[in-house]
Structures are given as structure tokens and as C-alpha cells.
């Protein structure tokens, strides 16, 4: 195999597939990236067997087609570190030489025959979803999943696609985020699968500039996604997901309207005075007023009391919540992404390489090398959200627009 390609394109592609390379594995070949050159196209593949990514680089000068399996971390580092616009690869068996102006690298790879096969995408079964809709739903729900492996079904995002509608639901059993979108078309038979959040984030990684749609193919135990440049496969999460529609309580008699930015700001202030591990903020409602109250009795003891102007006409009422659950949601409403405790192995190889690149080139240079996938559309934060409450034992329901619902179960405090 012999080819010559633009370093920036290659670097971006290696960066994308490296996020599927497991940081730790008992199968050493999985710490490699498979590179295939054929028909003017370079295809990079990586997998941890649970999920995998394939990403293509076009406009490559291929002198001799073929395949190679190269160590992911080294490859990633090399293509990031070099400054030449173009690189030349020459692979003979397991030996790979990378040539640039005035120097070369020699890498020993593995036998391409030993690399796992990548499943093919069947276009005929494809279900298509708009890129922005997909991104938006992932952003609104994936953060809420459980990180506890013993509640396996809850570690995934429920992904439902039916005619004219797609939904995603994430929950950890204490709060639940539910987003839906109108779609054009859709399958006649409803698709309902549980997808690991990491797979959803990897789908986002293969979205290339100009992509409008993502095609999905669902099988019994796996999901595939395809964009113009890349393909993903991921094993689905098995198990039963709670009936998300049933848990949304009906007939709330206390309806609060509040500005999300203001609520987030005040909650953050109050949260600084919650206990380390017992994070409870009391919500005290009275006419057009929401008072947030937190007290800390261990360590640096203290308390915080903050008021938020709201629209509320119901009776005086008091309920406690874990403020973190609210803040996660409010961040999303403001257009951001909550910090998600990424499941292990996630993008570690890439992160390490990036860190090294940053050191080698200085931050500015490194920044230019970021994958050029378009940034998500800026989200316009709504000026009001509604919080519906019923009683102290029932979930608070927050709505931001019609298509985004968030449930938070209250805390009850013994005294």
C-alpha cells in the first residue's frame, strides 16, 4: 500500500476514529487503527468490539492500494505533530514508513487479516434523521443517564423513532430527560432501542460539514449510523426501560414560570452552601416568589437563602430537590452541555495525543487542528420555563418549550 494525502485531512480522520480505540483492552490489536486505501479513498477503522467507527478521507493519491493496521496512539501523535502539508505512507507487510520533507518514521503494525470485520451498512433499511435534531436530542437527554452499571438499562438513552417523530429519553431513576422532534417520514413500525450514550457521541463525531441527515439502521442487538464520511456500529443496551410516559405526573396544581438563567444563577449560589454529599435545596413557593434555601452543617458550616422572581399564583408550598439535577437541565436549556462522567475508555487515546500536541506546538497551532465538523447550531435559550408541582412526594415537571420535558424526583427530609 502506498499513498500520499493531506496531513490535515488525515489528522482529522485519525482523531475521529481514535475515539473508538479502547484505552485498556485485553485484545492488543484493538489498540490499532486499520487503514485501507482503495479507489482514491482512504478508510480508517477502529473498534473496541462494543462499538466501532469507520471514517473516510477523500482525494487521496493512491499509488498502490492495500491495507495496514497501525498503532493508534503513535499514528495520532505523528500526524498531529508534523507540520508538512502532505505526508506519504509506504506500507510493506507490517512495516509502515511515513515520509515527510527531510525525515521519516517507521512503524510496525499488525496483520490486517487479524483486525475485526466492520459490519456493512444496509442503505435499504435506513431511517433518516436531521443532523441538528439528532444533536439537539442527544444534548438534551444523554447527560441524565445512570452511571451505575448495575442498573444496566438506565445506562443508555432510549431512542424511539416512529412515523413523523423521534424521541430520546435519559434517566438515572431519580430524574428523567425527555426530548422529542418532528421528523419527515420515519419507519412505519416503531423503532425503540436503548443506546449507550457514548455511541450517540460517536455518531456526532462522524458528522461532517454539509451533512444534513444521518442514516440509521437498527438490528436486534446493534445500531448502525452513517454520514457522508463515516459509519458507526454500536451494540445496544439490553434490558427494559421504565415507561417514561407513565411517570410524568398529571394534574399539577402548582404551576411556576421562571426565567431559566435566573434560576440557574440563584441555584448555583445556594448550592455552595449545601452539604458535600447531601445536596438538598429547599424550594419555598409563595405568591410570585421562589425562595431557595440551603444549609450546610458539616465542614465549613453555613447557609444560603436566595430569592427568584417567578410567576406563581398557587398556595404556599415547600419542597426539596437535589440542585444538581436542576442545574444539569438548566445548562442544557441555556445551550450548553452538562459535565457528563464519560464512561471509561472514552476518547482517552485522543485526549492524550491532543495534550501532547498542545505541548509540542503551543495552544494556537493545536486549536487550528481541531476537527472541522461544524459547531452545533447556537441554541436560543427560552426566556421562561415552567415548573409543575403536585405534592412533596411527586416529581417536579419542568418544561422548556413543548418538546423538552424534565422530571426531578424530590428529596424528603426527616426531621
Amino acid at each position: 500500500m502506498r499513498f500520499r494525502c493531506k496531513r490535515a485531512d488525515l489528522s482529522q480522520a485519525v482523531g475521529v476514529v481514535a475515539s473508538a480505540v479502547p484505552a485498556r483492552t485485553s485484545v492488543p490489536i484493538l489498540q490499532n487503527i486499520k487503514v485501507t486505501a482503495a479507489d482514491g479513498e482512504l478508510t480508517l477503522t477502529a473498534t473496541d468490539l462494543e462499538m466501532g467507527l469507520r471514517y473516510s478521507v477523500r482525494d487521496v493519491g493512491i499509488q498502490k492500494s492495500g491495507a495496514a493496521v497501525l498503532p493508534a496512539q503513535k499514528l495520532n501523535q505523528i500526524v498531529r505533530d508534523i507540520r508538512d502539508d502532505e505526508v506519504k505512507f509506504d506500507v510493506d507487510g507490517k512495516l509502515c514508513s511515513i515520509e515527510i520533507e527531510g525525515g521519516q518514521f517507521k512503524l510496525t503494525g499488525a496483520d490486517p487479516q487479524d483486525f475485526p470485520q466492520f459490519p456493512e451498512f444496509d442503505e435499504k433499511k435506513a431511517v433518516r434523521i436531521n443532523v441538528d435534531d439528532f444533536r439537539d436530542m442527544v444534548r438534551k437527554t444523554a447527560f441524565a443517564v445512570s452511571s451505575e452499571p448495575s442498573r444496566y438499562a438506565l445506562t443508555g438513552v432510549l431512542f424511539v423513532i416512529r412515523e413523523n417523530e423521534a424521541r430520546m429519553v435519559g434517566t438515572d431513576g431519580k430524574r428523567l430527560a425527555y426530548a422529542k422532534k418532528k421528523i419527515k417520514g420515519g419507519p412505519r413500525d416503531e423503532v425503540k432501542v436503548i443506546v449507550p450514550p457514548k455511541a450517540l457521541h460517536l455518531v456526532e463525531k462522524i458528522i461532517a460539514e454539509g451533512d444534513e441527515e444521518i442514516a440509521f439502521e437498527f438490528e436486534e442487538t446493534q445500531m448502525k449510523a452513517k454520514t457522508s464520511a463515516g459509519t458507526l456500529f454500536a451494540r445496544l443496551v439490553e434490558g427494559s426501560f421504565p415507561n417514561y410516559e407513565d411517570v410524568i405526573p398529571g394534574d399539577p396544581d402548582k404551576k411556576v414560570q421562571v426565567n431559566p438563567g435566573e434560576l440557574e444563577y440563584r441555584l448555583r449560589l445556594a448550592t455552595s452552601m449545601t452539604d458535600d454529599k447531601s445536596r438538598a435545596v429547599k424550594f419555598q413557593l409563595s405568591k410570585d416568589k421562589l425562595k431557595l434555601f440551603a444549609r450546610r452543617i458539616t465542614g465549613e458550616a453555613g447557609e444560603a437563602s436566595h430569592e427568584v422572581a417567578v410567576k406563581y399564583a398557587g398556595p404556599d408550598f415547600e419542597i426539596s430537590f437535589n440542585p444538581d439535577f436542576f442545574i444539569d437541565f438548566l445548562k442544557v436549556v441555556a445551550g450548553g452541555r452538562p459535565d457528563v462522567a464519560d464512561s471509561e475508555a472514552d476518547t482517552k487515546v485522543e485526549a492524550r495525543a491532543e495534550a501532547k500536541a498542545d505541548k509540542a506546538k503551543g495552544k494556537k497551532a493545536a486549536k487550528e487542528e481541531k476537527p472541522k465538523a461544524p459547531p452545533p447550531e447556537p441554541v436560543e435559550a427560552p426566556s421562561t420555563i415552567t415548573l409543575d408541582l403536585r405534592d412533596k412526594l411527586t416529581a417536579g415537571v419542568i418544561r422548556a418549550g413543548r418538546d423538552y420535558i424534565y422530571l426531578v424526583m424530590p428529596l424528603t427530609i426527616d426531621v
Partner: protein
């Protein structure tokens, strides 16, 4: 069938003697008690052949004139008790009038006594119950009692005596107990004419403890002295850093009488619970003084067992006082006092910052060998009374304290943390530490009924069919822990809410573990014990495990959390948390010293 006969006095006395005198050491005990009751300031104990051949106790007490002497060997002759009413107010060691009579039954006994302030001494002999006549003799002031050929006339008992060194050791133990309880009395012990111990009078029993059990224990002692509701508790308890593998260093005296009492032992165990490792026992030297009418000492002929009229009051008082002292003297600055809130609001941030700077300055300017960790900085008296540690005593192993400048810490093998601390390094078991932090956090919240219950969107179901009884028994405790639970058909539970401290852990998993454990736990365990056990189990289940990789921030957070708990010596299951390696040890190892 042989006819029933009333036993001859001598046989009765022989039987009674067998109860009082189990072995030579019991005779020594009775005789020393007599000496102390007589107001002795000096007691000499001599024995030969483990006490079998001879026991001799000499005191400088009040002594007896010829008339008293004549009665000395008669059963139930005592100078200490006149009437039944006095039984309720016993303040002396002896009172049953059995000691000398018993000795006279089972040995050749001889008393020589000269009352204080008189010129003449008299003596009396007795053998196998036959009492001789009082004869003039010569002796210094005080009394000497000799018992020759103990149990010579009871071959069965004599056969059961152990080897002479073992019996000698028992005698030594008896003398030790008295020497510890009466630091003002001079004790001398000689065995087979060889001096074994000579204890000059001292002010403080800490000195005697040090003499008997070594400097290390002496330095670990914390003084206890408290009084409430008719009970006084004084003495010393050793910090949890000093332990032995059995309870032989647990000495308790009630109204000066050495006793082995279950109530007191339980208090001690509970006071030290989770501060010492399993199968390690602390050292305590405790004197309980209580109104004589509040105890019954007349339970056992040897008087080592007693009964408290209000045992739970004694138990709680002793436990809380010991616990309080262990915590207070232990780790200043790492411990949140009860009035944290008030001290917080009374001081401005600047004041607090200044204090901290002052602490740092002191830390760095203090000579290396002064005890740093147990001297609270000025103005911090809220944390502990600074000077109740006996002078010259310093803690042998200063507790871990992070580097003032933010010591470095790393995780190794996804299981251990290594932390740089002044004077060395700590190797910490991450699971044990986290478990302990959780244990304390949960415990304080549960005990204060301050548990926030996070309600669940969908109840978590736990099935444990066929174990309805276990479930029923465990429910009240689960409720106290913060689980809101409902029966969900036979052998199944629905969890509606879980305590917030379980974090992201699966509530069903924790409840399942608790139920599993509940089965094997001792059903007779008191509810508080069971609760404690549950909390320990919960903490264990909810804590990070070995094998979990921690981000550097998590490592830091874990180590910072540590300062909120009182001690970090062992996890609630008794495994150690921290291995401390000093720079000294490192330097020795690498030949730098």
C-alpha cells in the same frame, strides 16, 4: 440411703473456703485487701513455690490487739460489717468475714500483729480449722499473715493447681491490680526470696502503668476524669494507636475493687468501636466510683463480679466519656466541634484566615521534636482542652495531616493512594478510606435523624422470597437508614426512596446486600448494634472499590474529605486505612542515616 446429717462446721468451712480460695492468688488477694482495709501504706507480699509452700503478707496497718486476734480465724468474724443495713453501704474490701477463716481451714496459718502505737505484739496459729491460743510475740507495727502448705489438706484442689510459675504469675497479677489502683501504697513482691517488683508510692497511676507495661503505653494514655449523676469515672485510656491482641490490658475497678464486669467491658468496646482493628483490644485503666448502695458487690465470693443497680446509665456514661476523650485529645483541627456554627459566625473571614496563617507559621517554626499535632493552636480551645495529656506525653504516631503547601498525592494500581505528608508519606487504601468517610457521614446523619431521601421515579423492586421474616425484621432499620420501603407482595419490597448518600449507587443492590447480611447477623443483637452494622455495610457497598480509577480531582476530594472525620486509623470493618512511612525509615533504608 445414708441418713441425712447436718455438716460439721469444719466441713462447711472447708466448702466455703473452696469458694473463696480458688488458688494461692486468691489468698493473696484476700490478704492484701485486709491490709488495705487496715489502712496500710506499705504491703509486702512473699510467696514460695507459686504460693503452695508459703504466702506471707506483711502490712503496716492498724494491727490487732490480743482480743481481736483471738477472733481472727473464726468464720464470719469481721470488723467491717456490724448489721444487715451495712451491707448496702459497703466501702471496705472485705465484709463477709470469710478470708482468714478460709485460710485457716486450708492451710497452716499464722498471724503476728502489733496495733499501731502499742509496744506489744501477739501471734496466733491455726491448722486445718483448729485454732491455737494467742501468744505474745515480737513484730513491728502492723500485721503479718502467713499461710503455709496451702490446700495441703485438700488434695483434690491441690491437684488442680497449675505449675508453680503459672501460680506465681497469678499472684503477680493480683499485686499488679492493687498496685495500679493504689498508687499511694508501697508494694513489694518477692517470690522464692527473689524480689520481683518494688513499687514506691507515686502521685499518678500513669507512672505505675508505665512501669508495668512500658513507655509506649504510657505515652499513649489519655486521662479520663468525669463525674455525672452519682458516677465518677477516672483513670486512663490508651489512644487507639496502642492496642494488644487481648483484653489483658483492660483494668476496671469499681469503688476501688478490681472487677470484671460485662457492662463496663461493653462500654469500652463500644467506645473504641471502629477505632481499633478487629481482634485488637485497647488498653484502659478505669476507676468507677459510685454510691455503694447503687451496686451489689455481694454477688460472688471472690467479689470480682458486681451488679449495678442502673447498668445502662453506667454503661452510657462510661462509653460516652471514653469516646469523648478519645476524640477530643485526638485530632484537633480535624474535628468539627458541636458549636462549629457559633464559632463560625463569631469570627470574620479575616480572623479565620489569620488563624490559619498563624498555624502555618507555627508549624514551620516549631522545633522538629516538639509534639505538633496534639497542641491546638491558640484560640482554638473549642476543639480540645489542650493540657489534659500528662506532661511529657506525646502521641507516638501523629495523625495524617496534609502538607501545609498541598502535598502531592497519587493513585497507584487503582487501589491505593500515596500522599506526601510532613515527615513522611501515607499509603492509603482508597476503599477503606472512602468507606470510613461514608460511615461517619452516614452515621452522624442517621443518628441525628437527618437523612434526605431521594425519591425514585419508578420504585426499585427487590425480591427475596421465602424470607419474609428477615424482611419484616429489617424494615424498621432500613427506614432509619433512609430507605422508604413498601411490601410488594410476598417476599418482595418496593423501594420508593433511597437515602441521598448512596449517590449514584443502585438502591436495590444495597437493600439486597443488607437483607443478605441481616440473615447472617446475630438476631439477638441490640437494635443500635444492628443499625451500626447496617451503616457499616452501606458504607462498604457505597464506597469506591479497589480497582476503580480515580481522577486527580477525585483523589484530592477524597483526601480532603478525610479531615472531616475524626480518626482514619481503620475502616469500619476494622481493616487499616493508612500505612505511614516516615522519612526516617526511608532514609535508613537508603543508608542516608
Amino acid at each position: 440411703m445414708p441418713p441425712i446429717r447436718v455438716l460439721d462446721n469444719s466441713v462447711v468451712n472447708l466448702i466455703a473456703a473452696g469458694e473463696v480460695l480458688e488458688r494461692p492468688a486468691s489468698a493473696v488477694k484476700e490478704l492484701i485487701e485486709n491490709a488495705l482495709d487496715a489502712g496500710a501504706t506499705r504491703v509486702e507480699v512473699e510467696f514460695e513455690d507459686g504460693g503452695r509452700r508459703l504466702i506471707r503478707v506483711t502490712d503496716d496497718g492498724a494491727g490487732m490487739g490480743p482480743e481481736d486476734l483471738a477472733l481472727a480465724f473464726l468464720p464470719h468474724a469481721t470488723s467491717k460489717l456490724a448489721a444487715v443495713a451495712d451491707l448496702a453501704e459497703i466501702r471496705s474490701f472485705g465484709f463477709r468475714g470469710e478470708a482468714l477463716a478460709s485460710i485457716a481451714e486450708v492451710a497452716r496459718a499464722r498471724i503476728v500483729s502489733r496495733p499501731r502505737g502499742t509496744e506489744s505484739a501477739h501471734e496466733l496459729e491455726a491448722e486445718a480449722g483448729k485454732i491455737g491460743a494467742v501468744k505474745p510475740s515480737a513484730s513491728p507495727e502492723g500485721t503479718t499473715i502467713e499461710a503455709w502448705d496451702l490446700f495441703g489438706n485438700i488434695p483434690a484442689r491441690r491437684k488442680f493447681l497449675k505449675t508453680s510459675p503459672v501460680e506465681a504469675a497469678h499472684i503477680g497479677d493480683v499485686v499488679t491490680r492493687f498496685a495500679l489502683s493504689r498508687p499511694d501504697v508501697r508494694f513489694e513482691l518477692r517470690g522464692d526470696s527473689i524480689p520481683i517488683a518494688t513499687m514506691s508510692p507515686v502521685e499518678d497511676i500513669a507512672d505505675r502503668i508505665g512501669h508495668y507495661f512500658g513507655k509506649e503505653l504510657r505515652q499513649a494514655l489519655v486521662k479520663v476524669d468525669a463525674q455525672a449523676r452519682g458516677i465518677r469515672l477516672r483513670g486512663y485510656v490508651a489512644r487507639p494507636t496502642f492496642t494488644v491482641n487481648n483484653t489483658r490490658l483492660q483494668f476496671t475497678w469499681v469503688n476501688g475493687r478490681w472487677v470484671r464486669d460485662k457492662v463496663l467491658f461493653r462500654s469500652i468496646i463500644e467506645a473504641y468501636s471502629d477505632l481499633v482493628m478487629v481482634r485488637r483490644a485497647p488498653a484502659v485503666f478505669l476507676f468507677v466510683d459510685i454510691e455503694p448502695r447503687d451496686i451489689d458487690v455481694n454477688v460472688h465470693p471472690a467479689k470480682v463480679e458486681i451488679r449495678f443497680a442502673n447498668s445502662s446509665r453506667v454503661h452510657d456514661f462510661v462509653r460516652d466519656e471514653i469516646r469523648g476523650r478519645l476524640m477530643a485529645g485526638g485530632v484537633p483541627q480535624q474535628f468539627v466541634p458541636k458549636d462549629a456554627w457559633s464559632s463560625f459566625v463569631q469570627r470574620t473571614p479575616d480572623e479565620r484566615r489569620n488563624e490559619r496563617q498563624q498555624e502555618l507559621m507555627e508549624f514551620f517554626t516549631r522545633p522538629a521534636d516538639t509534639p505538633v499535632f496534639f497542641t491546638p493552636p491558640p484560640g482554638k480551645s473549642a476543639f480540645a482542652e489542650p493540657r489534659d495529656i500528662p506532661p511529657g506525653v506525646q502521641d507516638p504516631t501523629p495523625p495524617m495531616r496534609p502538607m501545609a503547601s498541598g502535598g502531592r498525592a497519587y493513585q497507584l494500581h487503582d487501589a491505593y493512594l500515596i500522599e506526601e505528608v510532613p515527615g513522611g508519606l501515607n499509603v492509603i487504601d482508597q476503599h477503606a478510606l472512602h468507606e470510613r468517610i461514608l460511615y461517619y457521614r452516614i452515621r452522624s446523619r442517621v443518628l441525628a435523624h437527618d437523612v434526605a431521601r431521594q425519591r425514585l421515579l419508578v420504585p426499585s423492586i427487590v425480591r427475596d422470597s421465602g424470607r419474609e421474616k428477615v424482611i419484616a425484621a429489617a424494615r424498621p432499620l432500613l427506614d432509619r437508614l433512609g430507605f422508604e420501603i413498601e411490601e410488594f407482595g410476598p417476599g418482595a419490597l418496593a423501594i420508593h426512596a433511597a437515602p441521598d448518600w448512596i449517590g449514584t449507587k443502585d438502591p436495590a443492590g444495597i437493600v439486597r446486600d443488607i437483607l443478605m447480611d441481616f440473615d447472617t447477623a446475630n438476631p439477638g443483637r441490640a437494635a443500635d448494634d444492628a443499625l451500626d452494622h447496617f451503616i457499616a455495610t452501606c458504607a462498604c457497598k457505597a464506597a469506591i472499590k479497589a480497582g476503580e480509577r480515580l481522577a486527580p480531582e477525585e483523589v484530592r476530594a477524597l483526601l480532603e474529605d478525610r479531615v472531616r472525620i475524626d480518626h482514619s486509623q481503620t475502616c469500619p470493618h476494622g481493616r487499616p486505612v493508612t500505612l505511614r512511612i516516615t522519612l526516617d525509615e526511608l532514609e535508613k533504608h537508603f543508608g542516608r542515616k
